[in-house]
Each structure stands twice: as C-alpha cells, then as structure tokens.
C-alpha cells in the first residue's frame, strides 16, 4: 500500500469505448495543449496525491431509492427508459449542459493560463482544467453508456460530436461564452462560477437516475479543490493589495467579480423555476432557494477577503480591532483611516445588476440595487464597473445594444433573452486537415 490518498470510499472507474476516449484526447490536443504538462508537474505540486486519471468515476454507496419529488421512495432508474419521459428529457438536457460547461471552462482557462505570475497558481489551474476534462469525460460516459433513444433521435456519437464542437461563444450557458481577460479571470472564475457548479452537483446527488447520481460525489470532491484554487490565490492577492506595489489590486478583483457574478446567478436558471426538476426527482432545491444560498456564500467569501485585506492594512491592530473596523465600514458604507468601503473593499453586486436572464433580466438595476430611469446612464454605470478589456468585447457590446432596445421598447424581453449566445448545432468541426469529426468510428475489420 502506498501513502497516496485513497480513492474516496468505494468507487469504480470506467474508461469510455475507444472511439469516444480517442475523441476526447483528440479534443484535448487541440483545446488543452498544456494537459501533458500536468503529469510532469504532478509530483512537484501535488506530491503523494493520487495520480490524475482520465476516466469516469462512479460512487458505489448511492441510495437505491428516489429521495425527492413525486416518486419519493420508489427505486431509482437504472436506464433512461425507466424514467418518466419528461424526467428523461430534462435529464438529457442537464447532462448536455453540464458537459458543455466542463469542456467550455477548459477553453476559457487555456487562453490565459500562461499569464499566471505564480507557478503554483498556474499548476493549480492546470489541475482544475484536467479535472474539468475528467468531468466532461464523465458526462460523455453518461451519454454513451445508456440508451437515450426514448427521448432523442440523436445518436450518441452525434451528441458527443456536438459537445466537442462547441467553442467559447457557442456553449449552452453564458458564463462559458465569455473570454478571460487575464489570469485574474482564471482565479475569480474558480471562486465564483465553480461555486455554482458545486451547488448544481450537490443538488444532483439526489437524482432519480442512479448512474447520474453516482457520478456526483467524485466530481464534488474535485470541485472542492477548484473552489480553493479560486479563493486561496484571491486571499493572497488581497493581502498584497494592501501594499503600494501590488500586481493585482482590489479594483481589478472587484471588476472581475462584477463581470462574473451575474453570469453565475443566471446559471441557476430563472429564479421563478426549478419546481419541475424537484417534482421529477432530479434536484432537491428550486432555483431561487439554491441561488439565495449561493449569494450568502459569496457574501461570506467577500467578508473573508476583506478582513484579510484589512489585517494587512492595519498590521498593528489585533483581530478584534480589525473585526470592529470591518463591521463599522460595512454597516456605515463609510471610511476608516485611509480605507473606503466604496473604493477599497470587495462588494457583491446586487442580484439585479447586469442581468440578462431570469426574473431580473434587463431590469436597469445598479450595482447597489438602485433602479435607473435612463438607459444610457445605466449602461455607463455598468460599463464603469467592468474590466477595461471586457468592456471592449462583443459580449458587452451585444448586451448594451440589447439593453437599449429593451428599455426603449424596441425589443421584447423574450427576444432579448433569446438573443444571447445559444447552443450552436455544429457538427464535424475538428480543425485537423485530415479529419472532419472528433468521433471517428473504427473501420470494420475486413475479411
């Protein structure tokens, strides 16, 4: 027995059939070229951890009976045909969306991975990317190891092809269609967007489809490290931000939070929905309930970061004194000996700020929750709070144009929500000159 950490509890691992396994590796060579570096760096940054495995990991100690919804107490489905048609249909959409987020985040991380100013932070993000690849692999396992024909005419190979063909800009959820501006985005994304992932995986642990429920615990265990990959570098950065020579400032972090938080909120789905998934036994919380818990957790994260910053600013003061200063600053939204609540500390935007989907989509709600009457004033208010590089993006331009049209009554809310990036039905998009598909079926043996 080695001294490496054991696999959590009782788990089995599975490899995809060769055509799909090769398709994922083929995708990795194009979209995640740094992946081989992980094996080289593993012993240095993650000594004695279990080696990374590109495989599906299935928990064995998962309940056999449905935990929530109309069929509570009944046996969990072992195949899609055992689910109610509506549940199977809904679940297929969830798995596809989940797969899209896993592969999509790798594409986003890869673009700015080399801009990390700390090799350890870079190695952590590299591991996060590899584990997202494994999560995507896990979703492909779910799509290809069961018969989904009762709810879709699409063949498994075509479903995989569609997922692997998505690019930043054509993914299912908006958060995965934004490009990163710098390594700050790699880190803030882990803290803010992966946190939504944790909520989704936790809710899905109860899913009425057992193979899906059994996929959640191993993914959740890895997600814990992803959140630390966001929060711990941010903690170090805010401490350094108290010094005049800081490379990453509180202002930069605040702008990145303003960029990602609204997209994170929208990943929960419309605040008024989610009852159907609970009723069907696929999740155990409605969208609003989960989103509210997420907001509270993000608040806690920012309190933690702000206190760390203040401890560095007031090195001569003890814990109780700094706690009292922070409580006063937060309550009064004021100033204390050189520190301003508005200018120096991290704040969570109001949940209506910069929204494009859900109950507050395109409502002109400002950072602090104030409602704007004039759309141009509102757009200027949002722009000034976003990272400079992001302000120049197509994404922001599209939002501003759409916001204007909605506010002036030139576009319906429904059309505005629809006009955001949506799933692109693209097939055969491998960029290799000698191939037109990611999934290449093996040639039948000749006699």
């Amino acid at each position: 027995m080695s001294d490496r950490a054991p696999l959590g509890g009782s788990e089995t691992t599975k490899e995809l059939p060769k055509a799909y396994h090769d398709a994922v590796l083929h995708w990795q060579r194009h979209e995640f070229p740094d992946y081989p570096r992980l094996a080289q760096d593993w012993e240095h940054y993650f000594p004695k951890d279990q080696p990374f495995c590109l495989c599906a990991r299935i928990a064995q100690n998962v309940s056999d009976t449905i935990d929530v919804g109309d069929r509570t107490g009944q046996p969990k489905a072992m195949a899609p045909r055992d689910l109610e048609p509506e549940a199977a249909h809904q679940l297929l959409a969830i798995i596809r969306a989940q797969a899209s987020t896993e592969f999509g985040s790798i594409q986003q991380h890869q673009a700015t991975l080399y801009r990390a100013n700390d090799p350890a932070d870079q190695a952590w993000v590299l591991r996060v990317m590899a584990e997202e690849l494994r999560h995507g692999y896990q979703m492909i396992h779910l799509l290809t190891s069961a018969d989904w024909s009762p709810v879709t005419d699409q063949k498994p190979a075509d479903m995989v092809e569609e997922i692997l063909s998505m690019k930043t800009g054509s993914h299912v959820l908006a958060a995965f269609n934004l490009e990163y501006d710098s390594f700050v985005d790699n880190v803030v994304f882990c803290a803010v967007i992966d946190r939504v992932g944790k909520y989704q995986l936790t809710m899905q642990k109860v899913a009425a489809y057992k193979p899906f429920a059994a996929s959640m615990p191993p993914m959740l265990r890895e997600e814990a490290f992803h959140l630390a990959t966001g929060v711990v570098p941010m903690r170090r950065w805010v401490e350094k931000a108290a010094e005049p020579s800081a490379l990453v400032t509180m202002d930069q972090l605040q702008r990145a939070l303003s960029k990602w938080f609204a997209r994170g909120l929208e990943m929960f789905g419309d605040e008024r929905g989610g009852e159907t998934n609970v009723k069907l036994g696929l999740k155990d919380k409605t969208n609003r309930t989960a989103q509210e818990e997420y907001i509270a957790e993000c608040e806690q994260m920012l309190d933690d970061l702000n206190v760390r910053y203040l401890r560095a600013r007031y090195k001569d003061k003890d814990r109780n004194a700094v706690d009292a200063i922070y409580a006063g600053l937060k309550k009064e939204r004021g100033r204390y000996v050189g520190v301003s609540w508005d200018e120096d500390l991290l704040k969570l935007p109001h949940r209506g700020f910069f929204r494009r989907r859900g109950e507050l989509a395109f409502e002109p709600i400002g950072f602090d929750g104030a409602r704007f009457e004039d759309v141009e004033t509102y757009i200027a208010h949002v722009l000034v709070r976003l990272p400079e590089a992001y302000r120049a993006s197509q994404d922001v331009k599209h939002w501003a144009d759409t916001q204007r049209k909605v506010s002036r009554g030139e576009m319906t809310l429904k059309d505005a929500v629809r006009s955001m990036p949506r799933l692109a039905h693209v097939g055969g998009a491998c960029p290799c000159a000698n191939s037109v598909r990611w999934v290449v079926e093996e040639a039948a043996p000749t006699a």
Binding site: M1, S2, D3, R4, A5, P6, G8, G9, F46, D49, Q50, R127, R221, A224, F225, L227, A228, G230, V231, V232, R235, R236, E239, E297, Q300, M301, D304, V307, R308, R311, R319
Partner: protein, 145 residues
C-alpha cells in the same frame, strides 16, 4: 446560542481556523492554514471536519486516511490538526469532531486511527485518552541537524 453543527471543512473556513489558532497560540498565520486546507481539499475534502455555531467556526479537526507511513501498511486514519475555540471548550465539541472524523475514517476503510501528541500537551493527551486512544507501540524520536 445554538448547538454546534459538525460538517466537512470548506475553503471558506480558512479564516475560522486561523482565528482559533490565533486565539490559542497568539500567532496570526493565515498562509499556514491556507496551505493546510488546500492539502485536504485536493486529497479528501470530506475528511476534515469543523464545528460551526451561530455561523462561526468554533472547532476543527483535520486528518485523512493514508497507508505506508513508518512501515505501517494498513490504511490508517491520521488525526493531524485539532483546535477548539477557547471560549467554547467544555461543551463536547472536541468529542463530536473526533467521532465525526473517526466515522469518516471507517467509511474510507481504516481499521485504526493514529495521532501524535507533544509531551507538554497534557490536556490534549487527556482528551484523546478519553476518546479511547492509548499509547502506541511506537516511539517518536528526533535529533537536531
């Protein structure tokens, strides 16, 4: 004051652990606790436990199952770091943390739990004795280099 809830450690507990350490040792060492928490987060995040009372971390116990150390081949649940807020001691939080961590060790297949206690930490030794720990047939040795 509500009863403490025992749950798995998360990355948002770093400050809570730092606070307890500061209250016990008088030293502010956030970077030390960041490093330790990340270690567990990447290996077995379900293992380390914290006690939370009224939204505040009032105790923690960090450990994991490993095998192969010191020639001890069998999977061993190692208790490595442990602290309870001095203002909440005596309320059974340490006992509940230990029980939760030992239960996790059993789930992970360990049949034995081990730890080491500094000779001067009589209070901790007494607590662990009350939790069923006895002297092991091993002696911790050291020499200056």
């Amino acid at each position: 004051m509500s009863e403490a809830r025992i749950r798995a450690l998360t990355e948002l507990d770093i400050d809570g652990l730092t606070r307890i350490d500061e209250a016990i040792t008088g030293r502010y060492r956030p970077e030390v606790w960041e490093q330790r928490v990340v270690y567990y987060m990447r290996r077995d995040p379900d293992a380390p436990k914290v006690a939370e009372q009224d939204g505040k971390v009032v105790g923690f116990m960090l450990g994991e199952v490993r095998g192969g150390e010191f020639g001890l081949d069998e999977p061993t649940g190692w208790i490595e770091f442990f602290g309870v807020d001095p203002t909440t001691r005596g309320g059974g939080i340490g006992r509940r943390l230990t029980e939760a961590l030992l239960a996790h060790f059993r789930e992970r297949g360990a049949k034995i739990a081990r730890t080491m206690v500094a000779a001067r930490d009589e209070e901790i030794a007494k607590f662990l004795g009350a939790m069923g720990f006895t002297a092991a047939p091993l002696t911790a040795l050291e020499r200056p280099l």
